[in-house]
Symmetry: C2
Subunit: 318 residues, 2 copies
């Protein structure tokens, strides 16, 4: 079975309201927002990534799900696999500890298991956050809402390509791939106002389509408006090809919010940029891309559709 079919089967047994139909980044239970994301070697990180960065990333991708729900980090359980490389594991635990420390996420439990030697590592984290007064899901977007993006696009995808070409690559783009920053404060500020919100982990176009589908709307994205960092533009330029790459590369851990008003009227934290990148319109789960006011043909691949942590809302929970 493919992932979509697996999710469909899981949805049949996940009938509790807290499951939100497995259509959201996280479950909401008892005033808590709870998420679990695993990452696998060769799929979500590179075998030669520094182990501390892998530990950091595992924490950050889970915190990004909490950020998308406006939750405040409260506790985590780590699922650690040991493959017999003590230096790697020490580095990994150090990275987990660094991220937990910086973001105020107490590690309260988990488990440790051995894997058969030589098998790819699979590492998981359950992150628990306290829900705010509102917990936006993906399905509340309305025609007329602006689509706003917190953060930049494409940096991590460009960094991954640099690393695939040269294991020793360094710089801002490589850092963006290896050490994503969860946008917790922005998520908390927007959660009170957003009709819908999610994090962008599998590619903007794929994730925006998911939000549109869940909301029963059509999404229109203006390719020209996508926020690109100076480092990205220096490495890949700013033409349509570069912008399509940024819109589909994934691993951004930006936030995508459907907002009824201009967020300049909201009290947002300084730091990450917030950019209007499009809007929702009447329609049924479709996506339009425009540039210079004219329609642009959608690329065949909207994001990490078949890569694992993707392909469906539940699968996309990184």
């Amino acid at each position: 079975m493919d992932e979509a079919e697996a999710i469909a089967r899981l949805r049949r047994i996940a009938t509790d309201p807290a499951a939100r139909g497995l259509l959201d980044d996280a479950a909401v239970f008892d005033g808590l927002v709870i998420t679990h994301d695993s990452i696998a070697e060769g799929i979500h990180f590179l075998p030669f990534d520094p182990p501390a960065s892998v530990g950091w990333k595992l924490v950050a991708v889970n915190l990004s799900d909490l950020a998308a729900k406006g939750a405040t980090p409260s506790a985590a359980l780590l699922s650690l696999t040991l493959s017999g490389d003590g230096d790697w594991e020490a580095g990994f635990i150090g990275g987990v500890g660094a991220a937990c420390g910086i973001y105020g996420l107490p590690l309260i439990g988990g488990d440790t298991i051995a894997l058969p030697q030589g098998t790819p590592r699979v590492l998981g984290l359950t992150a628990i956050g306290r829900a705010g007064a509102r917990v936006p899901d993906r399905s509340g977007g309305e025609p007329g809402d602006g689509l706003w993006l917190v953060g930049n696009l494409g940096d991590a995808g460009a960094g991954l390509e640099l690393l695939r070409a040269d294991k020793t690559a360094t710089g801002a783009l490589v850092e963006a791939y290896r050490q994503p920053v969860p946008l917790l404060a922005a998520g908390q500020a927007l959660a009170a106002h957003a009709h819908a919100m999610m994090d962008v982990s599998d590619g903007l176009l794929l994730d925006a389509l998911r939000l549109a589908e869940a909301s029963g709307c059509s999404a229109v994205i203006d390719l020209d408006s996508l926020p690109l960092s100076d480092a990205f533009k220096a490495a890949r330029g700013d033409d349509r090809e570069a912008r399509l790459f940024a819109a589909t590369a994934g691993d951004d851990y930006a936030l995508l919010a459907a907002l009824p008003a201009d967020p300049s009227t909201l009290c947002l934290p300084s730091g990450p940029t917030i950019t209007r990148i499009g809007s929702l319109a009447a329609g049924v789960g479709s996506l339009q891309l425009v540039s210079g006011g004219k329609p642009v043909t959608l690329p065949e691949r909207l994001g990490h559709e078949h890569r694992g942590n993707s392909a469906s809302p539940m699968a996309g929970r990184a």
Copy 2:
């Protein structure tokens, strides 16, 4: 690093009281008991085990941790890996659904990731239960407490040996290995009275030593008293060798409780047997084994010390 060292490093960053020093089967947070256990192919289950039984086991081993804390199952998040075998995955999901249905554990979230083809599966579950009025940990045992065991010992270990010799083996012992039964009602009944409680997953002797160490006591176990099923005795006999096997084989998912009184005065559910198997005495984290009133030399291997889900309290959280 070995597991003990990994746990020691994790303990240094897990300083929150909810972590209980990573010395317990589960974390206690906000009135909830939360546990996460992963199982790996070739370590915790056999590649040829029916996939539905693997799904069942993943749920059951997590519920066993909730049982040991007297918690009531409330919600679960599944970490599913897809390896490209749709029939296997469909069977696995069916087994998860069956166990969640029978034990009233709503599936509310999780994630789905692809693994590189041909790599051993790693599957995880986060189980959340509501805490009762008391949540016994491992460290409250006192000299003079009786050590009581709910359930039998050795069935699953004997079943695993049968399967290793013959993939097509069937019967009660094989069932005990593949489909453990979490002792939720007994755990809830004992939690109000137990000074200390834990589930026995890595071998009675190893787990009893852990309870004794955490409680700062000496444990005395009477080999002659260990409860063995008729199926076990028919397959392996009832001599000292058989009893030492049962005391160290693991995968029992029995409950071990340090109780101040005879539990016949408590209101226990009918079904699983409860047997006095020893007592706690003054001392510091040691274990004595007796038979016919005489000391028995401890076997070199007390349980699954280096198998993965073992070797330390946090690692032993299956």
